[in-house]
């Protein structure tokens, strides 16, 4: 009964670490290495949560978020932004665009991120 999580993260090492921790936490992980494939993989819904990085090659994270929220099938999936940007303006923008939370990667351990996820889904 693993909950399905879509992880959109371009940094390979961070992606591996996060994936590993999520799998340990009994989550079903799908990985996307850039914005385009993130949008592609989520276009038919089917996920319980999306973890989204902001600095991505190609289209940027905010645009990906917009697209996910504009698509009926994926709009209701809760999105947590995981980014190393963190100025107030960016956080506010992310939340305004519909993200449910904004976590700065350098400030949270994978375990803490898992806790936050478990509280939501």
């Amino acid at each position: 009964m693993g909950k399905k999580i879509l992880l959109i993260e371009d940094d390979r090492f961070l992606r591996e670490l996060m994936s590993r921790k999520l799998v340990e936490g009994d989550f079903d992980v799908t990985e996307a290495v850039d914005g385009e494939s993130g949008v592609e993989k989520s276009k038919n819904g089917g996920f319980d949560m999306i973890l989204l990085d902001l600095i991505l090659p190609g289209i940027d994270g905010f645009d990906v978020l917009k697209k996910i929220k504009e698509n009926e099938k994926s709009a209701s999936i809760p999105v947590i932004i995981l980014s190393n940007l963190g100025q107030r303006e960016e956080i506010d923008r992310g939340l305004e665009l519909g993200a449910i939370d904004f976590l700065i990667k350098a400030h949270f351990t994978p375990g803490e991120i898992l806790q936050k996820i478990s509280k939501i889904i």
């Binding site: 940094d11 961070l14 190393n84 303006e89």
Partner: protein
Amino acid sequence: MSEKTDKKEELEKPKENSQDIRNNLKELENTRKALTNMLEDFEVARKIAEEEKMKTESVIEKFSDGIMILESDKTISFLNIQAETFFNISSKAVFGKKIEELLKIDVFAKLGEILKETAGEIFRKELTIDDNFILEVSTISISRGEGKEGVLIILHDITREKMVERMKTEFVSVAAHQLRTPLSAIKWTLKMLLEGDLGELSKEQKEFLDKTYVSNERMINLVNDLLNVTRIEEGRYLYKTEAVDFVKEVVYVLDFYKDIIKKKGVKISFTKPKELLPKMFLDIEKIRLSIQNLLDNAIKYTSKENEIQVSIKKKDNEVIFEITDNGIGIPKDQEKRIFSKFFRGENAVKQETEGSGLGLFIAKNIIEAHKGKIWFKIEKDRTSFFFSLPLPEKE
């Protein structure tokens, strides 16, 4: 006989008269010469004054900053060449008019806004003409003769400075992000190792990894501090203020530090104000950060069995936050520099090699941006840091 005497007197009179006349003529001639000299001197002085006036006018006319003069009735009486260029208008077109009459012209509308906003003299307010053209406006009141006061407006082009500022912010943002990426990777890896995700660890291995983790956290905090400092220097540091309960915010920060305080074995006491405080307009994140920085210092530079006392008091129309510890204090000769950037007291460095030296600098900037004051007092072996914040005026 008297006739003869009369005639004699009469005959002698002309002689006296002609002597007088000669004397008078001589005096007149001297006076004429003196007047002529005076006129010549005046003429020379007038020419010199005229030259000086022209030199000064030339300087003002051609000065690299724009200069505008408003008379006591607010009409424009002077626009130098640079001001004409900045506003793209000839001084003849605006001479004798008030700024209120020129609001159709965009620049004057904007200038009018700035002048209206501030009573009294303006010091370096920004006037954005467009994206690639930004001016700094300052005003000084000047005498226009006979007790009348006019305004001297100085316009300084700061487009280049603003561009450099923008580049610096972008650079720091990018650098911070670039630094955080590997730092997150290290943080996550170490944490996973410490949590046993990659197998059991020996006690020694755990200790080493713990210390590495702490070191890495220090770097992460330093990146945060550097980001904060850059934003302070940018001047746009207070991002968003909301009506908040100040006491609640202090409690929030103290709660957050509960475990750390416990671990260090230090006692902490908290005294609330006697009366209920009205909501205050504060940038929550930044205020929490200032309290955190002061609390950090109190905890860092104190030792076991020491006590930290935190209190909030209402005094007149201010709220005063106080944090007292009986830790290492501040050496007398370094007191003045304690709030400056990157400064750490000698004794602080000896006790803890950690510490970026930015905590108090950042706290000071945050408090002052809220129009408060921050200071400290040392009595015997107790150090107290205070900050005040103005309470909103009663309606």
